[in-house]
């Protein structure tokens, strides 16, 4: 005879049974309720205290502690430009060029400007001397070549390949301090990529379990999905540090940096408020007001290259019908998403290019902030497709789900029945790549791949791109080619504006809003550099304790 599950275990009338000794279900329920109440009270009582004293005491170890929302499963920063990877890698990895505070690309590991041939097809880059990797090996041209080889290896799975394929023909080590890159056609965006692509040691390009860089901090240990511990690299060359940090030997103010993963937004915010950490990324919208009210905390909200990627599959019904697309675009509750999901921190969307990105047109006004239902119904009446339903596939985050719910409620007012499908990153990307979707939506920040721009967001609008959504417009194709090839920033900006306007007017890419990038920090820490935040960088190695 076995006792069975606790819920099925009942008191018997047949006398005492030692196997059933213990609380009855009723007693168990009572105890649970009492423990829940008592525990809540105890936790509440314990959550107070002087956070300032705790921070002062904690700072004695010289370690900066940062709370992030997620951790990468693959630590190799050559494989991903997502902030989940790159925020961890910021103080560890460096690139040939870097952004200064005016967002100009300036040499970092490169020794000066690249020499570009007259036909613009050969770039020759000299490297700095005296730089060592965290393992003590000297930095040479072999490392840069190995990095480029990995990036262009189809089997390696680096997302950077989408930026380089078709343009980069070959590359070679000219000598220990010189790298030569040969292009198949002029590629103006190469400088941007060399400014964002981290360089790693030649023996570590395929490693997914560690980071080997030349930056001011080296990765010591990590617990997958939980924490990352870094210590100051004493042999750092000092290249990333300019005034006012040049007075600190080596430039780095902290003995170490620790990243801790708090997936729950409330836990991140409470840990910051209690002084357990110094800085948090992506505070939940609902916590921002509380964080702003706390005098020991500071919240920074910045216009940055942060997008709500919004794609419709023009190749199939119902979005193959332009009038249907316009009906959806006109009935999109942009202001509802902005106010309800982002607390007003952002701008209602129009075309694919936001205010934090090169080529944004502030004057572009195709769609109203609040739904124009009358106009939407007019377009819907003109639509030839009979479909009045579609699936909106969004990422797995609460933010993505909230955006979708607000939009779906708005579309219901013109009679559209929209089903929400939430998918994790991998399956979501597969839908995008296999072009198996009606409408796709997700948040994406491009600062670590494109700096103050977002070139990837335009890819589905190009008829020849692997991500093509089925939209065919020679003018757009030509403008996108110009964006990638032009070396003149003005020419590129003009092309970007053209693409932005056409895609908005044709209702091909019409995001609900352009959100701002928000971080929160303790005031005992120097303020995050707003210039670097504009390209999504926290630059933790440039901060210092102030109290």
């Amino acid at each position: 005879m076995t006792p069975g599950p606790w819920w099925a275990r009942t008191r018997t009338t047949g006398g005492a049974d030692p196997a059933h000794a213990g609380p009855s279900r009723r007693g168990f329920l009572g105890m649970t309720a009492a423990l829940a109440l008592g525990g809540t009270g105890l936790l509440t009582a314990c959550s107070g205290g002087d956070s300032g004293a705790r921070v002062a005491d904690r700072h004695k170890d010289g370690v900066l502690r940062i709370g992030v929302a997620a951790a990468p499963s693959n630590l190799n920063p050559l494989d991903s430009g997502a902030e989940v990877t790159r925020w961890i890698a910021e103080a560890v990895m460096e690139s040939l060029y870097a952004y200064d505070d005016q967002l100009n690309s300036v040499p970092l590991l490169a020794d000066g400007e690249p020499q570009i041939s007259a036909d613009q097809l050969t770039w020759t880059i000299r490297l700095k001397t005296g730089i060592t990797w965290h393992n003590g090996a000297p930095f040479t041209a072999d490392d840069v070549v190995a990095t480029l080889v990995h990036m262009l290896d189809l089997s390696a799975g680096s997302e950077w390949i989408t930026y380089m394929l078709g343009y980069v023909q070959s590359f070679e080590k000219a000598d220990d301090r010189t790298v030569r890159i040969v292009l198949a056609k002029p590629y103006g965006l190469l400088r941007s990529h060399l400014t964002n692509l981290p360089v790693t040691h030649k023996d570590f390009v395929t490693r997914k379990d560690t980071m080997m860089g030349t930056g001011p901090y080296k990765l010591d240990t990590y617990v997958p999905g939980q924490s990352f511990t870094m210590s100051r690299f004493d042999a750092y060359h000092g290249g990333q540090f300019r005034a006012p940090f040049a007075d600190v030997p080596g430039g780095a103010a902290f003995k170490g940096i620790e990243y801790t993963v708090f997936t729950d937004g409330n836990t991140r915010a409470i840990s910051l408020k209690q002084g357990k950490i110094d800085l948090i990324t992506s505070p939940a919208q609902t916590t921002v007001q509380k964080l702003k009210e706390a005098k020991e905390l500071a919240v920074t909200s910045t216009v940055a290259p942060l997008d709500v990627l919004t794609y419709v599959l023009v190749a199939r019904e119902p979005f193959s019908d332009e009038n249907f697309r316009k009906a959806v675009a006109h009935s999109m509750d942009r202001d509802g998403v902005l106010q309800r999901v982002y607390g007003g921190r952002g701008t209602p969307g129009q075309g694919p290019i936001g205010p934090g990105e090169l080529g944004h047109d502030q004057a572009l006004s195709v769609y109203p902030a609040t739904p124009d239902l009358a106009k939407a119904k007019e377009f819907l009446a003109k639509a030839t497709t009979a479909k009045r339903d579609f699936t909106l596939t969004v990422g797995a985050s609460q933010t993505a789900r909230d955006i979708a719910q607000v939009l779906v409620a708005g579309w219901a007012k013109i009679g559209l029945n929209v089903r929400i499908e939430q998918l994790a990153g991998g399956p979501w990307s597969n839908k995008w790549l296999s072009r198996d979707y009606d409408m796709l939506m997700n948040t994406f920040s491009s600062g670590f791949t494109s700096g103050p721009a977002n070139y990837l967001t335009l890819a589905p609008a190009s008829s020849t791109n692997v991500l093509a959504c089925g939209y065919k417009n020679p003018e757009v194709d030509k403008a996108i080619d110009t964006v990638w090839q032009a070396t003149d920033p003005a020419e590129r900006t003009a092309a970007l504006r053209t693409v932005d306007r056409i895609l908005a007017e044709d209702a091909v890419i019409f995001p609900p809003l352009y959100p701002e990038l928000v971080v929160a920090q303790r005031t005992e820490l120097s303020p995050v550099n707003p210039a670097q935040l504009k390209i999504c960088r926290l630059a933790p190695h440039t901060l210092r304790f102030t109290g």
């Binding site: 005879m1 819920w7 018997t12 329920l29 409330n266 915010a269 939430q422």
Partner: protein, 318 residues
């Protein structure tokens, strides 16, 4: 006349304090799940953000500005049909398996069926349901023109997890009934086995099974809430009590006390109510079993049961 397992008004007094409390809680839950749905649309955006309870919105509004009473009611209704579907499925399938095994007690079919249900039972129930949902995903599944949503899959997954418990209870009760004199007599009179099983044995097997069904309802409400809380339940924007509580978790710092409290209270009403009611019903049934012989035709003979009554409830094993 023998007692039948129907919940007649005169039987309610046997429920006791706990049973009455459970009944009131369940009725409150059902009230919210039914009348509450008349309050408005659960998906319409009615305010700009979360608002405290008021006359217009008795439960307040959620973080996106939707009426929380309408959402709680819809969530309670959704939880209710998922739980009824899962428990109903488990009762039907579990009873069929258990009675078949009990009828063939000691035979190969009995062994085969009970080893089968024990295999399912080997996995903890919640883990089993998560395993099944994980395998199938949370998106809609299409079988030709038929679309199966995740709600039905959750209900069936929970139901499959319950089948072993009902099968064991039904088998135990069937084994006891099959040893009773009235069954032997009916067999001797040449009554077909099918008629004995469906017309005579089944009515005596059902009371302990239904007692467990109430308890299973409580677990099903809890399991559905837990799955939705983890994002494995019914997809947004359709509310369930679990995903309402999960969404409310993101508002802890926002002073929106009503957001987690009120849907959470309704969830507790359901779990606690069904639990207390199930226990009271089970106890009443056991008390009844000690006073009367269980033959539907036997005329209520004061009895010493053929086997101790506790063995007829949950403890019978192979």
């Amino acid at each position: 006349m023998p007692e039948r397992p129907r919940l007649r008004a005169r039987h309610l007094r046997h429920l006791g304090v706990a049973g009455w409390t459970g009944l009131v809680l369940v009725l409150l839950y059902l009230l919210v799940a039914t009348v509450g749905r008349l309050h408005g649309s659960p998906t319409e955006l009615v305010t700009l953000g979360p608002e405290a309870p008021s006359a217009a919105h008795p439960f307040g509004t959620d973080h996106l500005g939707r009426d929380l009473l309408a959402r709680t009611a819809e969530g309670a209704w959704t939880s209710l049909w998922i739980c009824l579907t899962s428990v109903g499925f488990a009762v039907v399938v579990g009873t069929a398996i258990g009675m078949t095994a009990g009828y063939r007690y000691g035979g190969r079919l009995d062994t085969l069926l009970m080893r089968g249900v024990e295999t399912v039972q080997a996995l903890p129930q919640f883990i089993f349901v998560m395993f099944v949902i994980g395998l199938m995903g949370t998106g809609d599944m299409h079988f030709g023109p038929v679309t199966v949503g995740n709600g039905l899959r959750v209900a069936l997954a929970i139901g499959v997890g319950f089948v072993p418990y009902f099968a064991r209870v039904a088998r135990g009760a069937t084994v006891v009934e099959m040893r009773e004199d009235y069954v032997v007599n009916l067999r001797g009179l040449g009554v077909p086995a099918r008629e004995i099983v469906f017309r005579e044995v089944l009515v005596n097997v059902l009371p302990p099974v239904l007692g467990q069904a109430f308890l299973a309802m409580a677990i099903a409400v809890f399991a559905e809430g837990g799955l939705s809380f983890l994002g494995l339940g019914v997809p947004a924007p359709h509310p369930t009590l679990g995903n309402l509580v999960a969404d409310a978790g993101g508002q802890i710092l926002g002073d929106a006390w009503w957001y987690a409290t009120l849907p959470g209270t309704v969830l507790v009403l359901g779990i606690l109510g069904f639990n207390l009611l199930g226990e009271a019903y089970g106890e009443r049934d056991r008390n009844r079993g000690t006073r009367f012989a269980r033959s539907p035709r036997g005329g209520g003979t004061p009895a010493v049961p053929a086997v101790p009554p506790k063995a007829t409830v949950t403890e019978e094993t192979t």
